[in-house]
Symmetry: C3
Subunit: 147 residues, 3 copies
């Protein structure tokens, strides 16, 4: 699909680049703070979350939010705080859709302990707009430790 639209997409300008970076910062802060209702709204209603660590993609905002909440609550019970860091972000956009490739790290800190790298991944997103805000339409997370 990226190829089909390649001729229409151009590298993002500074304003779009900034918007996308701020979108991700907010999205990750909401996830790590456990604000799942607000986090869910950063996905399209029919958003898709796929990963090489999942047996099948999770589809739909409600299912995506439920899966994240379940995982985060289980971690909290073990006294673990995760932080999701995104970086090395490249993006192309036609203005209404943005295709992003970035790196994402999961850093985990146990209460009273030292932080460690939990996952190193590559995240590939298709973003769209909903009500003036960016939302994730399709996400694919590829963990480096898995094929």
């Amino acid at each position: 699909m990226a190829q089909e639209l390649a001729t229409q997409n151009v590298s993002v300008n500074a304003q779009l680049h900034s918007e996308i970076q701020l979108f991700y910062a907010r999205q990750m802060q909401l996830l790590d703070a456990g604000d799942f209702d607000a986090w869910a709204m950063t996905f399209a209603v029919d958003g898709v979350f796929a990963a090489n660590a999942y047996p099948a993609p999770v589809t739909g905002r409600d299912n995506i939010a439920a899966a994240a909440q379940e995982a985060t609550v289980a971690l909290a019970k073990q006294g673990l705080q995760r932080r999701h860091w995104l970086g090395m972000l490249s993006a192309e956009s036609d203005g209404s859709i943005a295709r992003v490739t970035c790196y994402a790290l999961v850093i985990e800190t146990p209460r009273g302990g030292v932080p460690s790298l939990r996952h190193s991944t590559v995240c590939t997103d298709e973003l769209g707009r909903a009500g003036g805000e960016w939302v994730v339409r399709k996400r694919h997370v590829h963990r480096d430790d898995l094929t």
Copy 2:
């Protein structure tokens, strides 16, 4: 306080976002390079540095610089080089004051050894302007390993 001003603050535009990112890059480079005089100037004269790792906030530019210098000199004597990384930065501003929430990592490398994550934190700043430059008026650093 963020709530009082919420109606005046808006998410930063690309130019402000860029300025704030460059401010943090310079501030952390100065700290890690041990340039405490220049680093001190990145805080307001009456700046406040609070942290859940401190018994009480450090107040005033001179005290903040002295505390950082003492800590860094002690690390250098042990052959440890720290690097402060900020990321996942979200910011709101009315143009003269900026309220920033970001993640901050402390990475430590011993001479002849391998780097490790020392601290994973959330940094909440109130920035102001002094002489055309951004300065920190209030900083709060919350380490993930501490409550």
Copy 3:
């Protein structure tokens, strides 16, 4: 040399800042994905890559690409995926040349294992333009574990 040109250089504006960040994201993605032909083009034909970990600088695009390919292929044979993260980027530019100082982390993940920090470095670049794109003219990478 930075001193000679100091009066002409000014801190980058948002557009230049964005361009440089996107340049680095693409450059690191190409390197980590093993796309050495495209990666080579992110260096000037007569580019120089120096490091405190090297006995002597590597000069010329072809030699730089060959050295990177050799290192990456050796890692791949061991089942290791590296990710190069740049951050805390400060930059000055006169519009045609940009002088950048940033931090760079090398994160390494073995197949089936957990990621770890391999190197913490400071990267100092002189960028120029070639055919409308930024390229590295001179790079110096200083590993924190080495003097």
